[in-house]
């Protein structure tokens, strides 16, 4: 990771007129961000923890009292919705992350293959749905997966002979077994960025590795497992970290589908949705802050676990970094 500029190590302690000027102008250019980080990150971050210790409700702010860790006790021991919402989030992550990343990898492999024609056009077309506003994408998918009138069920019924229409048919939005796959499919329309990043990773793998392995008689799958995947593991790692953090605040798709009802059977009551309901529907800002902090702590923990695991499976060609 190239976080640091080379000159940083040499001297950040230059003295004299040049050093002073560097400092003055450096901070001057940073001013917008320095103000922003204090106003919109540091203060709210600390304040949000303070909020979790009071029973602040925006509907009647005068009644706010310090309640100690009562909100935390409620979230961790008394409110079953909290556990349920994190469980739902993890279950969904276990399904959608592998499918989403696998799909992106498959597209990237195809778009990197010598044998596929028209790659520039294909890349554009696979990227295109990423540009459709997600709210619109959810509505379009809601139509195509409609249990009675959607094309998917009509095709399944009439072309593939599967009983898809009707009450005993394939109920994309009402079935507790299917709903996470449905949500994953809708999410696949946003595959563009992951696909492009993975593709750039594939393009940076030195071709002589493949040539050498071909001489040794390696086939496609052997090359994939022993060369491609290790060589692009930093990219997969990056996608995984972003994916996990994104899922911790998964909100828009379930919200547009069912307005936070959790349908079917609470399976779409994600942590991000529950946070929104408590904070901005019931205006329990104290309790909402507690849930926000839980989301933050879980995301932090997962990120640390991922970074800790990285040295076992992420390969940096330039050595450890």
């Amino acid at each position: 990771m190239t976080f640091f500029t080379p000159s940083a190590r040499q001297s950040s302690r230059r003295s004299g007129r040049i050093g002073r000027e560097q400092r003055r102008w450096g901070y001057l250019f940073l001013t917008p961000w320095l103000i922003g980080i204090v106003l919109f990150y540091l203060v709210p971050f600390v304040a949000s923890f303070w909020f979790s210790l009071v029973d602040f409700n925006l509907a009647n702010p005068e009644d706010t009292h310090y309640v100690g860790f009562a909100n935390w006790k409620r979230a961790l021991f008394e409110d079953p919705n909290v556990y349920e919402s994190f469980g739902v989030t993890f279950t969904f992550a276990a399904i959608s992350l592998p499918l989403g990343m696998g799909f992106a990898l498959m597209l990237a492999l195809l778009l990197n293959s010598k044998s596929v024609r028209g790659k520039a056009l294909l890349r554009t077309l696979f990227y295109m749905p990423t540009m459709i506003p997600l709210v619109a994408a959810v509505l379009i998918w809601g139509g195509v997966l409609n249990e009675q009138t959607g094309w998917v069920n009509i095709l399944l019924e009439n072309v593939f002979g599967i009983q898809a229409l009707g009450v005993n048919g394939v109920r994309w939005f009402a079935s507790t077994r299917l709903i996470y796959f449905t949500l994953t499919f809708i999410g696949l329309w946003g595959v563009g960025n992951t696909m492009l990043i993975t593709l750039a990773g594939l393009q940076s793998v030195p071709t002589d590795l493949y040539e050498a392995s071909e001489l040794d008689g390696a086939g496609f799958w052997q090359q994939l497992v022993h060369i491609t995947l290790p060589m692009i593991s930093p990219v997969l790692f990056y996608n995984l970290v972003l994916g996990v953090i994104g899922l911790m605040q998964y909100f828009l798709i379930p919200w547009v589908l069912n307005g936070g009802s959790g349908f079917p059977d609470g399976r779409t009551n994600f942590a991000g949705v529950y946070f929104f309901l408590q904070s901005f529907k019931f205006f329990n800002m104290g309790y909402g802050s507690t849930i926000a902090w839980l989301i933050f702590l879980v995301a932090l923990l997962l990120t640390l676990v991922l970074f800790g695991s990285a040295r076992y499976w992420v390969y940096y060609a330039g050595g450890e970094n």
């Binding site: 500029t5 901070y27 044998s115 506003p133 709210v135 509505l139 492009l196 990056y238 929104f276």
Partner: protein, 350 residues
Amino acid sequence: MASQQQFLSGKQVQLLRSIGLTLFTLVILTIFLLPLAYGVMTALKTDSQLGAIGAPWYPASPVIFEYEGKEYDVYQVEIDGSMQNLALVKKGREASEFVDPANPEAGIIPWEGRWRQLEQAWVFDPVWENFITAWNTIDFPRLLGNTVFYAVLSTIGAVSSASLVAYGFARYDFPGRNSLFMLVMATIILPPSVTLIPTYAFFHNIGWVGTWWPLIVPQFFANGYNVFLLRQFFLGIPRALDEAAMIDGAGHFRIFWSIILPQARPALLAVTLFHFFFAWNDFFGPLIYLAGNPDSYPITVGLDGFKGLYEQMDNLIQAASLTAALIPLLVFFFAQRVFMQGVVITGVEK
């Protein structure tokens, strides 16, 4: 494999593989874009086609035939072993009378059977007015105006502030620079919810909830993602250019403005597009800050509300969704190169 090589030369094998893989990719693409085709087709359907049983998948309306001053529905009828489209002029339980629209002079054609089991004949008939209806019902000009207002103002703020800050990080040497840059990175992965409630309460107290300001003003204080992307790009611009300008007596802002910014045009364009689309698609921010103030809604929130009101009118929902997608898609097709390069810069350089 061995037997294959006997019949096919290496070139032929490669050609077959090329055809096979390209076809495979095209099949995936077709499935991938199927919902879009559904959206287009459904957006053009009449209201009555939506719930009709036996209606075709493309926009169509039932064929009507006018016979002796009256309108009759046309059905697909099997006569003498061949299917014909005939107008049903007299309905009967077990036998009915038809007229051939292609040859009405031939007169009444009697038919034995139950007309209720016949399928109606449909003719391709796209209803372009659905787009106009959706446009007016959802009050699209107002939503579009709000969205453009938000996207343009916040993009100006985001790009100008991020480029200043990125320049500071890329070109100046000051104590704490690396720690501060780690903080920039930390803000990228910090879940926004953990700072949201106090921020919301603050904007509530100063009376800004219900206006666009809580969404626009913070953008003028440099977002970590944009700073990161621009700094990466600025680092790649040779320092010799700044130094030459400095020797010529250019000041700090002058170097930033006339040396760095022109060199960084692709990155600036990428950040501009990213932020523009972020603002265009933003749902969560407007949802909480503009709640209860429909006059200020952007397209995303308006579309969500529209869905709630017109749940049964899938043709209008699809027309509205496609209309909302049109501008981002157009911009994408014109600027796709810059856009996709920008994605790669953010993902690979880390």
